[in-house]
């Protein structure tokens, strides 16, 4: 297991290098001058542009730029953005909020998705099953931003239960609805996956054995059936943590949350690539690491998995 972990970590390095290089390349080398539109209506003076190009190393060959980027990332020195504000402080303000939002979303996915899936899987074709099937169908069809605007309008504007936008400190209570929106798609997937898994395992031999052992129904379902059925579900939840972070771009935009997603979004529309590159790289890192953790978790959840 330890060996396997190390090997997987080593495998992570080339992928990480590849993706970060790709991000650097795309952002800095593709057409469009990032400094052209920074001076209001008038074109920027040449002196400004060339000074900026020198400051951000754009006059150097791409490989050298990339090498500089790697050195900066590893030393934790992310430099300043185009407005000369340190990138690190911006990240430091934004991360905790997004992490809070993502964790809340995972919790919602897990609790609601799994319960709905279990209930509908146990009684196939029953009332709850139909309700779950239809509501997951809707959740899967509604684009996340529609769910977001709809809830914002309904709960925030019409009924005024929540404030339509989240305040700067983003307390947990205000994050519940945004987290629900962020979670909605995966929640539907989780419910369906759980249902399929329960349905598949319900007729399995070991469940039959558990009944034959004279266990209570609650224990058969709650211990034997659930423990096995949740393996793929937990794996799914884990793998999706990464994409949840990038899904936060939309949710944070709608509810005006000052997290990573909002920061990235503003940076992209403002073409401030000094922020785009480190955030995108960090998101990819989170994604890759969460996938690795899920792989390891899989081995803990299912003793049959052997790592060579």
């Amino acid at each position: 297991m330890g060996r396997y972990t190390i090997r997987r970590l080593l495998q992570l390095i080339p992928v990480l290098l590849g993706t970060t290089f790709l991000i650097n390349y795309m952002v800095w080398q593709l057409p469009g001058d990032p400094f052209a539109g920074r001076c209001g209506q008038r074109p920027c003076p040449d002196s400004y542009v060339s000074a900026m190009r020198a400051q951000f190393g754009l006059d150097q060959p791409i490989l050298l730029q990339y090498w500089q980027f790697l050195k900066n990332m590893l030393s934790g020195n992310l430099g300043v953005d185009f407005n000369q504000v340190p990138v690190v402080t911006q990240l430091a303000d934004a991360w905790p909020i997004t992490i809070r939002l993502a964790l809340l979303a995972v919790a919602i996915e897990a609790v609601i998705g799994i319960s709905a899936g279990v209930l509908s899987g146990l009684k196939r074709g029953g009332f709850i099953d139909n309700v779950v099937t239809i509501s997951t169908l809707f959740l899967l069809s509604l684009p996340v931003f529609v769910t977001g605007f709809l809830l914002q309008w309904l709960l925030g504007v019409q009924f005024q239960i929540i404030t339509p936008t989240v305040s700067d400190e983003a307390p947990i209570m205000e994050l519940i609805v945004p987290a629900f929106v962020l979670a909605s798609l995966n929640m539907a997937f989780t419910a369906r996956l759980t249902r399929t898994s329960i349905v598949e395992n319900r007729r399995s031999d070991y469940v039959r054995t558990a009944i034959a052992k004279g266990l209570t129904n609650r224990r058969v379902v709650g211990v034997h059936l659930l423990r096995n059925s949740l393996i793929p579900v937990l794996t799914f939840l884990g793998t999706e943590v990464g994409s949840l972070m990038s899904g936060a771009i939309i949710t944070e935009g709608i509810f005006n949350i000052h997290g990573i997603g909002g920061l990235l979004y503003r940076a992209i529309t403002g073409q401030d690539y000094t922020i785009v590159v480190p955030i995108a790289s960090l998101l990819v890192l989170v994604y890759l690491v969460s996938n690795l953790l899920v792989d390891l978790l899989y081995g803990v959840l299912d003793p049959r998995i052997r790592y060579e």
């Binding site: 593709l30 529609v146 990038s246």
Partner: protein
């Protein structure tokens, strides 16, 4: 999709080795006949089918539904709420929201369908090649697919579009639609590759394919006559659902300002234009959002109905 030979039946009109599959009713029954029998009795199928027809009509002949010009603006009526004269009210620039919503269907459906088509071609070719040639072709294609899947969808789209067609630029109608279509397909093909690959691998080991190979049939003949037809059903199901999710994705990108933009008429743009007016004029945003959701729902529902009918085990 448990019995690939049944699909074979359908494609070749019951010829060949698979023709001997006879069910208890003494008549060879194809997968599609069975599926149709189940579908016919499903309400959800008919609902989505009728909705599909409606949306397609809307996309093809918007003037059937409204005689107003979607581009005609009366600034004085900016953000006027729904009324008898304008069912969905007016938008920020005083244009008729109903007309714009109807005309928006065309863009969404064109983008959804074309992006799916490109995805199917890219993914299908990659999948069949990977499965047919196996070995290093398979491992290279699979690795590339993994890298593309490795980048979270929204992030990938934002980075590509944000650099290729930044928010400030104003490309013309066709260019921007083409760019969005390609971006969607480039990020989406690996899933289709997996589907095509696995169903072709399943078929490859069937006796009749082995026999065709032994008889000296060339790779093209085998791929087109035996392997491709086999992945048809799962690809069809997945594509239908994908059209729906691409329509949603297109709107999301437009919302972020990096997808479609004026002068294209699209639901996503309409929503994006009015996000700041949610307190005062939600109608300009909610109606297009409702049409968008219904349209996505139509495709997802249709795809799921067909999938369930193809594989009743899952129900």
């Amino acid at each position: 999709m448990s019995d690939p030979s049944v699909t074979q039946d359908l494609i070749h009109g019951g010829e060949g080795p698979a023709a001997s599959v006879v069910s208890s009713s003494n008549r060879p029954r194809s997968l599609w006949q069975d599926t149709w029998d189940i579908l016919r009795h499903r309400k959800i199928f008919w609902i989505s089918f009728i909705m599909l027809i409606l949306f397609l009509l809307m996309a093809a002949f918007p003037s059937l539904f409204t005689h107003k010009n979607p581009d005609y603006a009366t600034l004085a009526k900016s953000m006027d709420p729904p009324s008898g004269e304008a069912w969905f009210g007016y938008d920020l620039q005083g244009r008729d929201v109903f007309a714009r919503t109807i005309y928006g269907a065309r863009t969404s459906i064109i983008v959804g369908v074309l992006a799916t088509l490109v995805t199917v071609i890219l993914g299908g070719v990659a999948g069949v090649l990977a499965a047919y040639y196996a070995r290093w072709v398979d491992s290279i294609l699979s690795r590339i697919g993994e890298i593309f899947l490795g980048v979270p969808y929204v992030l990938g789209a934002i980075i590509i579009l944000g650099t290729v067609a930044p928010a400030q630029s104003s490309p013309d109608r066709v260019t921007i639609m083409a760019v969005v279509i390609i971006v969607l397909a480039v990020l989406g093909w690996p899933i289709l590759m997996r589907i095509a690959r696995s169903s072709v691998i399943q078929a490859k080991h069937q006796d009749y394919v082995q026999a065709a190979r032994a008889l000296g049939a060339g790779p093209f003949r085998i791929i087109f006559k035996h392997l491709l037809p086999n992945s048809l059903a799962p690809i069809l199901v997945y594509s239908t659902i994908t059209i729906g999710s691409y329509i949603g994705a297109e709107a999301t990108l437009s919302l972020l300002g990096i997808g479609l933009r004026e002068p294209v008429i699209s639901w996503g743009i309409a929503i994006a234009d009015h996000t700041s007016y949610i307190r005062t004029g939600a109608h300009a945003m909610l109606f297009p959002a409702a049409f968008l959701s219904l349209c996505v729902l139509t495709f997802v529902m249709l795809g799921e109905a067909v999938r369930d009918a193809l594989d009743p085990k899952l129900r």
